[in-house]
């Protein structure tokens, strides 16, 4: 068991009592977990739009999604929600049920909250493009071209739909969830790029600790598998372009890695104040014990070369948890499969863990899920909870050529049995966002 030397023993404890996800490998917690342990891949050629000529033609898509499966008759009301809002609702419903909150009538709705790392909804692409292209006046501006705002207003006014536009706002998933589950307390949506849901969960834990809520639905949702999303990441050269072998394209920590694979989905957790959970007889899955958050404050594109921000986030999370590196039995890496991230994350772990760095197993489930962007941290934290519960670590798949810049134990290609009392999960985002969570066995 994890030693109980929390720095402040009077503080309210936060536990996880329910989990749900929508992932490229499915929606059922247990079934997806088994697929991860077998090293299966959720990656395939992109079908959500015609990506055949894009530099990257594949992604990790959620397949065959239908909100009716999760919400039944209530699905109708939320049909207007964007793809990520619908993912969020489905995952939240599973987490809510998993936590037994559907069978509990003692919840004070004003003491329930929401803290999501929710992405923006996909743009109404073809209508948006039609308006833009038709309103482009090539001759204007001395031949450089200009947008004819009058023409644009005419076309866009006819083509764009009020609800579809409105539902793109990043706070919409939280809004829908509040209505579906009657959550009247504080609601937040944070959008700190790839770190968003880890940050959301850390802040949600603090919301409970400080007494502003007893139960919080927290996690993330995102879908950037749309033409502008892939365009943006392709222009940044952040994506793998291994089009001839997409299943092996996500290769975190492998020397031949060439970028991340864009995924989509949602992960939701029910965070609950410990005594509240005990009083209602809830099954407790794990404790959210530590959280650390920092900014690199370095460059808009590059991570600080010493891993300064990541190091500080991990140290703060350990300190918050009252644990030392030796107490951590597993690290769920951010591990995107980009040259820079994996090198600097390895360096940062080595720096924080010192002599323990080589002993602590590290894996990146992005090798199978792809990168769920704002939702990545939430689904990865769920895998940490499952690793604690089952004593088994998911592998880092597609690891074949060791990289001298990544000299640690990445649980290559095969799941591994190991007792895990405490796990640490990292998420780093564009713009220098660094967030780390520590979860422990209760």
């Amino acid at each position: 068991m994890v030693a109980s030397n929390s720095p402040d023993s009077s503080r309210r404890r936060v536990v996880i009592t329910g989990m749900g996800w929508i992932t490229p490998l499915g929606d059922d917690i247990e079934a997806v977990w088994q697929r991860l342990l077998k090293g299966e891949s959720g990656i395939s050629p992109t079908e959500l739009f015609d990506a055949s000529t894009f530099p990257t033609t594949f992604s990790a898509q959620v397949k065959g999604f239908s909100l009716d499966k999760y919400l039944g008759a209530d699905a109708e009301r939320h049909r207007c929600g964007s793809r990520n809002t619908q993912f969020a609702l489905a995952a939240a419903k599973m987490a809510w049920t998993d936590a037994g909150l559907d069978r509990f009538d003692g919840l004070d709705p004003t003491r329930a909250g929401i803290y999501l790392g929710g992405g923006e909804g996909p743009i109404d692409f073809f209508n948006f493009v039609e308006a833009a292209v038709r309103a482009w006046n090539r001759e204007a501006n001395g031949g450089r071209g200009d947008l004819d705002a009058c023409k644009w207003a005419e076309v866009a006014g006819q083509k764009l739909d009020a609800v579809r536009e409105f539902e793109q706002d990043p706070n919409m998933a939280a809004g829908h969830i509040a209505c579906q589950f009657n959550v009247q307390g504080p609601t937040f949506n944070t959008l700190t790029a790839c770190a968003a849901s880890t940050q959301a969960i850390g802040e949600a834990a603090n919301l409970i600790r400080r007494g502003d809520a007893d139960v919080v639905i927290s996690g993330g949702t995102h879908s950037m598998i749309h033409p502008f999303g892939v365009t943006g990441f392709n222009r940044l050269t952040a994506l793998s372009t291994r089009n001839d072998s997409c299943i092996t394209a996500s290769r975190p920590f492998d020397r031949t890695r060439d970028g991340f694979v864009l995924g989509e989905g949602a992960g939701m957790l029910i965070l609950e104040e410990y005594e509240h959970a005990v009083r209602r007889g809830a099954r407790i899955l794990a404790e959210v014990r530590g959280y650390g958050s920092t900014a690199d404050a370095f460059r808009i594109t590059d991570i600080h070369e010493d891993g300064r921000g990541g190091i500080a986030a991990m140290r703060l999370a350990l300190e918050d948890a009252g644990l030392t590196p030796a107490d951590i039995h597993y690290i769920s890496a951010h591990g995107t499969g980009t040259e820079e991230n994996d090198k600097i994350e390895s360096l940062a772990i080595a720096s924080v863990f010192g002599e323990h760095a080589k002993k602590v197993p590290i894996s990146s489930v992005k090798s199978m899920f792809g990168h769920l962007i704002a939702a990545a941290g939430a689904v990865e934290l769920i895998t940490c909870v499952l690793a604690i519960r089952d004593g088994i670590l998911p592998p880092t798949m597609n690891y074949s050529v060791p990289d001298p810049n990544c000299p640690l134990d990445y649980v290559p290609n095969q799941a591994r049995k190991a007792r895990v009392d405490a796990a640490l999960s990292n998420s780093f985002g564009f713009g220098g966002q660094n967030d780390t969570l520590v979860v422990t066995r209760i």
Binding site: T53, G157, D169, S293
Partner: protein, 445 residues
């Protein structure tokens, strides 16, 4: 553990009525309008043609020379945040990396980078339509129709490699934290018009729990672009009757109001742990003593008709502050000018404050600035702070006949002398369901 106390030591304002607290305060007292016919693009074919625009904003005035190349990837929202951060840090007497490198203050820094955080509310940043339309137009087939295959194969290369980074909401905070070297927690709240209040509330808690000693917080947004205007037009939230008298278009709580007005702007505040502020001899504007947040559950698209959720946020904030309605000297309203929303807000305040809601002097700012989206709340909080500093509440613009459905004591016609010891300020997302309230209190000597 006793909670650490948090005070406001700096204000940064970038608004259609001025940049910096002095310009803004002078404009407020003079009743100067910040809304006009939109000039950033031709609005003739839009139903609403009015906007709150910042006349001139040159971001190079607010960043070190060495950082100028990064200005190319700043959307307007980011420029506003960066300018507001400059104003706020300077106002607070901070010696940040930016101010030192610009030669405005002498180093070394008087704050510890790893204890300096950020929480900046942001909106859904619109892609630059002009840039995007030009690039998209290179990917049309022989019939002039857009071809996604042509786009994927070549068209997209007409966009700058860093294109995506212009529009990520956390880039406001990212640029600000880089320029001023703030390495503590950096968060980005994206909850529409509630963003600023939620961000300030979170920054308040971040300092209280000890994760930072100073936070730069608030929000910024620009909706002054065709897409920003179109979205609000489609939703039917905009004023359309005052296109010929744009300075009178945004009329919060007025009987003749017909919608809100899009705008651009932002506010960033420096929040600081009390002892930290005292040690460095900082000027203290006010203490942040209460924060409350809540959510609509009847709908995610409109505020509750009875203002139920807003009332819960305000009640929680007062409870958090340990204060009662009787002790509130100023209500900072949100007052968007959307007919139903203003009624909802007035009813919510009535629910939270009882009859006191009709008596306490109320501040309404949108008649000056329009609705600055994610930046609006921070502008309101900063102005409420200035009211406390000056013991004066500016008269709301365009409130001629108060709507009897909105029985608030909105200060109008001329500024009112009010000793403001406690101010309650509220905000809500026009869509999304989030509500938030903050309570500020004069720091006792």
């Amino acid at each position: 553990m006793k909670s650490r106390r948090v005070v406001i030591t700096g204000l940064g304002l970038v608004t259609p009525i001025g940049i910096g607290t002095e310009e803004v305060w002078t404009a407020l007292l003079a009743g100067q309008s910040g809304t006009s016919r939109i000039s950033a693009f031709d609005p003739s074919r839009f139903s609403s043609q009015v906007g709150g625009q910042i006349a001139s904003l040159s971001v190079s005035n607010y960043i070190p020379k060495t950082y100028r190349k990064n200005a190319r990837v700043m959307a307007r929202d980011i420029e506003i945040a960066v300018a507001a951060a400059y104003c706020a840090t300077k106002d607070a007497g901070l010696k940040t990396k930016c101010l030192i490198e610009r030669g405005e203050v002498e180093g070394p820094p008087n704050i510890e980078s790893t204890r300096f955080g950020a929480n900046i509310g942001a909106g859904l940043i619109c892609a630059d339509l002009c840039e995007l339309a030009g690039a998209l137009s290179t990917a049309v087939d022989e019939n002039g129709a857009f071809s996604i295959r042509k786009w994927g194969a070549e068209g997209m290369n007409n966009l700058t490699p860093l294109w995506l980074l212009k529009f990520l909401p956390n880039m406001l905070s990212c640029h600000v934290t880089i320029v001023h070297d703030a390495q503590a927690p950096s968060n980005t709240i994206t909850c529409s018009e509630a963003s600023s209040h939620l961000a300030i509330g979170e920054a308040f808690r971040t300092i209280a729990r000890g994760a930072a000693d100073i936070c730069i917080c608030g929000g910024a947004e620009s909706k002054i672009n065709p897409m920003g205007l179109m979205r609000q037009q489609l939703l039917g939230r905009l004023s359309t009757k005052y296109n010929d008298t744009p300075e009178s278009a945004c009329r919060p709580f007025d009987a003749s109001r017909d919608g809100t007005v899009i705008s651009e702007g932002g506010g960033l505040l420096i929040l600081e742990e009390l002892e930290h502020a005292r040690r460095r001899g900082a000027r203290i504007y006010a203490e942040v003593v209460g924060f409350g947040a809540s959510t609509n559950t009847h709908s995610w698209s409109e505020p509750h008709p009875e203002g139920k959720a807003l009332a819960l946020a305000a009640t929680k904030a007062l409870q958090d502050a340990g204060l009662s309605a009787d002790q509130v000297d100023l209500i900072g309203t949100f007052g968007s000018g959307v007919p139903a929303h203003d009624v909802s807000e007035a009813r919510g305040l009535r629910l939270a404050l009882g009859d006191r809601a009709t008596e306490i002097p109320a501040l309404a700012t949108k008649g000056f600035t329009g609705n600055n989206g994610a930046g609006a709340g921070a502008i309101d909080v900063a102005i409420a702070t200035l009211c406390m500093q000056h013991n004066t509440v500016p008269a709301a613009r365009n409130v001629e006949t108060l709507d009897p459905e909105c029985p608030l004591n909105v200060v109008r016609n001329k500024p009112a002398d009010v000793r403001v010891n406690v101010a309650l300020t509220v905000a809500y997302a026009l869509g999304g369901g989030q509500n938030a309230a903050l309570v500020l209190k004069r720091l006792e000597a």
